[in-house]
Symmetry: C2
Subunit: 478 residues, 2 copies
C-alpha cells in the first residue's frame, strides 16, 4: 500500500487532527507532564469529578444564569437600584435551587453615581473641538457645572510629577499616559503596574496643584473604549475630578501634545450619596459529618456601572452558585458545610468582604478555606493558593484529577479581594481561580464587559473545576 | 493597625488580584507543578526565549500579517483565484522578511467551486416554504438545475442506516443529525466523533438509494451558521448532493420530522473543474553548523471558501512565518536549517503535504522534525509529539522554559495533516501545537472564521511558543 495515497490521506487528516488536539475525557487516562511521584488517582473520585464536567458542559446552567444577571439585572454598582435587583435575583436563584439555607447579610456600602452627560474635548484654536472617549473614574467628584478648561501636562508615571514640580503642574490637568506593557504574559501584571495612575493619580496630581487629572485607560486593547474603576482621595488635599480616556483618545491627546500646548475641557456630573444599605447573599449546603467546618466559595455581585459585569464578576457569582447546584443536582451530600457567597461592594469599598470576615470572627466560625472566582469567565488554567506548604502540596497532589486543558498548574499565592479579610481576621487559607486571561483587560471595567464576550464552554469549565476543588477539599479535609 | 480598615483593603484588593492571577514573565521564576526531577534551566536560553515572547507580544507582527491575509486576500480554496493570491502574498511576505531563500513548490490541486444561489427549504403544505441555513459540503456534486425535492429521513448516525434498510431510504434525502457531544472537554473529540457524517455521509446514504444527504453542521455553537468541509464519493455508487445545515436549522428540521413527514427542496450549483496548478510556499533560514538537518514549521495556506480562514489556518501560516521572522529580527543564526512551509490544499486533498514529502524522499532530505500549527490562533497550551520516547522526554524536559500560561503540558502523539506524509515517508517525528480550543469549532469551516475572532495576544503567544520550541530543537538537536 502506498502510504501517501490520497484516500488514505483523507483519513489521516481527520485522524491526525483528532489525535493532535484531543484531550482525554477521563482524568485517569491523562497524558500530561506531572511529577513522577504523583498521588494515585481514586477511580471513584475521578468518576465523580467527570460527572461535574459532564453536567456543567451539557446543561450550561451557569451560562444561562449569567445571561439573566447580565441582561435582566444589568450593571449593579453598590448603592444602585441594579445592585438591589441583583441581591433579589441572587436570593431567589438560590432559593429556587433549594439550598439548605439562603440568607442575606446586611452591609452598608458607598453610593456614587456617575450622572449624565460627562464629556471631554480638546479645545482647538478655531473654536472647534476634538471630542475624546471619556469615562469618569468611580468615586470622582464632579467638575463645576460649566466644566473645567485647562492646559494639559502629560506624564508617563506618577514619579515624573516630582521632577516637573508645582511650577509646571499648578492649574493644569495632569494626563497620566502609562500604557499596558504588552510583553507581560499576564496582563494582570500590566494592570498592577499601571493601576496607581487610576487609584492614586488624583491625589498625586492635586498634591502638585493640578485642577483635574485624566488617565489612559487601564486596557490591554487598542480600541477607544474607556475603562473605569476605583480611586482614592486624601484628606487635607483638594479632591479633583479624575477620569479615564480610551486608549486611542489617549494616544491622540499625546500626539497633539507633541505638537504644542493643548487645552482640554472636561465635564463631570457625578454625585456621592449617603451610604446605602445592601447585602451579601449567602446560600448553604449543610455538612453531614463536620457541619462546623465551612468551605466558602464566592464571587462579587456588584459591578461597575458600565457594561454588564459579565466577566467581572458575574462569572464568579454563577460559578459559586453553580458549585452548590452541582452538588445538589448530582445528589452529593457534602461532609462539610459549603457556602456560596455573593459579596457586595468589591469594586469600590470591599464592605461585603469585610462584613463577612467580621461576622466570622464574631460568631467564631471555623472556616476551612475560602475560594474566590474573580478572574473572569474564561477557561480555567490553575489555582492560586495562599496556605501552608502542606496544604499547597495537598492541592498539587490533586492535579492529576484534572484534564490539563482545564487545571494545569497550582501557584503558590492567591485568593481574592473579598476573601482576603477572612485571611486577615482568621488566617483562613484562600484559593483563587486562575483563568486563561488574555482577553480580560480588553473588557474589564468597561462597556465591553458584556454577556456576549463570555463563552459558554469556557465559563462552565470553570464551574466544574471549582466544584471539583470544593469536592476534593470536602472529602479530604484541608 | 486594624487589618480590615478600608484604606488598607483597597490596596489589598489591587495587590491580591495582581497576586492571584499574575504569572511571572521569567520562566526561571515559574511557580508551577513540574516533576521534581526537572532539568536545570540555562539562564541564557531562558533569556532568549523571553526575548521571543517580548518581541512577539510587543510588535504583533503576525497579527498584522494575518489581517492582510484575511482582509486583502480572503478565502483561498485550492484552485481559486484567492489561493493564487495567497501564494503570491506569502512569497512576497517571506521575501520582504529577507529569508535566506524563498521558493515555490509546484503541486496540482483539485478545483471545486460552490457556485451561486445554493439553498434549501422545507416545503409546506400550503405552498409556502421554511428556509433553512444551508451550505454545500466541499466537493459535492450539484443538484439538477431545478433542485431536488424529496422526503427526508433522519438518522443520528451512519449505523442507523443499516437498520432502516433500502426500503425506508430509497428516493429520500437522508438527514444525519448527530450533535456535538458537549461533554467532551476537547471539542476536537466531538468533531472526531461526528465527522464521518460529513466525510462518508453521501457514500453511505447513496448505498441505500438516497437521492441526496444533509448533515447537522459539525459545530460546537448553538447558532445557525452552517459549516462546510471535505467529503468523499465512492466509485460504483451514485454521487449524490451533500450539504450542511446550521445547528438551529437542523433542530428545526428534526422538530418538523417529529410532527410528521417532511419534504425538503435543495438546490446546489457546484462545479468540479480540472485540477489546477498551485504551490507550497517555502522560506528558509540556512543552518550555520548542520545545514543538512532540516526543521520544518508549517501551516496550510488554503482555506474553505466561506469566512477568511483566520483560525484555519491563517494563524498557522503567520505562526510559521513568525518563527523565522523572530530568528532574523533578533539576530539568531540557527545551527540547523529552518523552513517555514505554507502548505497548499490541506482542506480537500492534502496534495501540498504529499508533494513536500515526496520531494523530501526524492531529494534524500534529512528532516529532523516537522512541526505544524493547525489548531487555531488561540492561546497555546501544549505540544503533541509523535516521536520516540526519548524525544518525547526531551521535549518534556523543556517545559520549565515556558510560563504555565503558555505551554503547560506535552502530550504523546500529535503533528498535523500536512506533515503526516513526511512521517509516513521518512519516519520524521512530528509535533503539533495544542491550543486553548474551546471556541475553535464555533468558527471552523464557517463564515465565522474571520480575523475579528482572533485575539492578538493569544495568536502571538503561539508564535513565541513555537519559536521557543524550534530554538530549543535547533540548539540541542533532536
Amino acid at each position: 500500500m502506498n502510504p501517501i495515497k490520497t484516500h488514505a490521506i483523507f483519513k489521516y487528516a481527520v485522524f491526525l487532527v483528532f489525535f493532535t488536539t484531543n484531550c482525554i475525557q477521563k482524568p485517569q487516562e491523562a497524558e500530561q507532564a506531572v511529577p513522577a511521584t504523583q498521588s494515585p488517582i481514586d477511580p471513584q473520585v475521578a468518576a465523580t469529578i467527570k460527572s461535574f464536567f459532564d453536567e456543567a458542559l451539557s446543561d450550561r446552567a451557569c451560562y444561562l444564569m449569567l445571561e439573566e444577571l447580565c441582561k435582566d439585572v444589568g450593571p449593579r454598582l453598590s448603592g444602585s437600584k441594579g445592585a438591589e435587583a441583583a441581591v433579589a435575583w441572587a436570593k431567589k436563584k438560590m432559593e429556587d435551587e433549594g439550598f439548605d439555607e439562603v440568607y442575606l447579610q446586611e452591609v452598608m456600602v458607598p453610593h456614587w453615581e456617575r450622572g449624565k452627560e460627562e464629556e471631554a474635548h480638546i479645545v482647538l484654536e478655531d473654536g472647534k473641538k476634538e471630542t475624546l472617549s471619556f469615562l469618569t473614574v468611580g468615586g470622582s467628584v464632579p467638575t463645576p457645572a460649566g466644566g473645567i478648561t485647562a492646559e494639559v501636562i502629560e506624564v508617563q508615571s506618577i514619579d515624573e510629577l516630582a521632577a516637573l514640580g508645582q511650577e509646571n503642574i499648578r492649574g493644569k490637568i495632569v494626563f497620566f499616559n502609562q500604557p499596558f506593557d504588552q510583553r507581560n504574559i499576564s496582563q494582570m501584571a500590566s494592570y498592577g503596574a499601571t493601576v496607581r495612575q487610576r487609584t492614586q493619580g488624583a491625589i498625586e496630581a492635586a498634591s502638585y496643584g493640578a485642577v483635574a487629572s485624566v488617565i489612559r485607560s487601564l486596557s490591554s486593547s487598542f480600541d477607544d473604549v474607556p475603562h473605569t474603576g476605583t480611586m482614592s482621595y486624601k484628606s487635607g488635599l483638594d479632591s479633583i475630578p479624575h477620569a479615564a480616556l480610551g486608549v486611542k483618545s489617549a494616544e491622540l491627546l499625546s500626539k497633539r501634545l507633541k505638537a504644542g500646548s493643548v487645552t482640554l475641557h472636561m465635564k463631570i456630573n457625578s454625585r456621592i450619596y449617603p451610604d446605602a444599605r445592601s447585602h451579601n447573599v449567602i446560600g448553604v449546603l449543610k455538612g453531614s459529618e463536620f457541619p462546623q467546618e465551612i468551605i466558602t466559595i464566592g464571587g462579587h455581585l456588584d459591578s461597575w456601572d458600565v457594561g454588564e459585569g459579565a466577566h467581572d464578576d458575574g462569572a464568579g457569582c454563577v460559578h459559586a452558585l453553580g458549585v452548590l447546584r452541582l452538588f445538589k443536582k448530582l445528589g452529593i451530600k457534602p461532609k462539610r458545610t459549603i457556602r456560596a457567597v455573593m459579596f457586595m461592594n468589591e469594586e469600590n469599598g470591599l464592605k461585603g468582604g469585610i462584613k463577612y470576615a467580621e461576622n466570622a470572627r464574631d460568631e467564631k466560625e471555623n472556616h476551612l478555606v475560602a475560594i474566590e472566582s474573580d478572574a473572569g469567565g474564561f477557561s480555567p488554567r490553575g489555582f492560586g493558593v495562599t496556605a501552608s506548604d502542606e496544604q499547597l502540596e495537598k492541592v498539587r497532589s490533586w492535579l492529576p484529577y484534572f484534564n490539563p486543558n482545564t487545571i494545569a498548574f497550582i501557584n503558590k499565592g492567591g485568593g481574592g479581594a473579598d476573601i482576603r479579610p477572612l485571611y486577615d481576621v482568621q488566617g483562613t487559607p484562600t484559593i483563587g481561580l486562575l483563568t486563561e486571561g488574555q482577553r480580560m483587560f480588553d473588557y474589564h471595567h468597561s462597556a465591553n464587559d458584556v454577556f456576549e464576550h463570555v463563552h459558554p464552554r469556557e465559563l462552565e469549565l470553570g464551574t466544574a473545576s471549582l466544584t471539583a476543588l470544593v469536592y476534593l477539599i470536602d472529602q479530604n479535609g484541608f
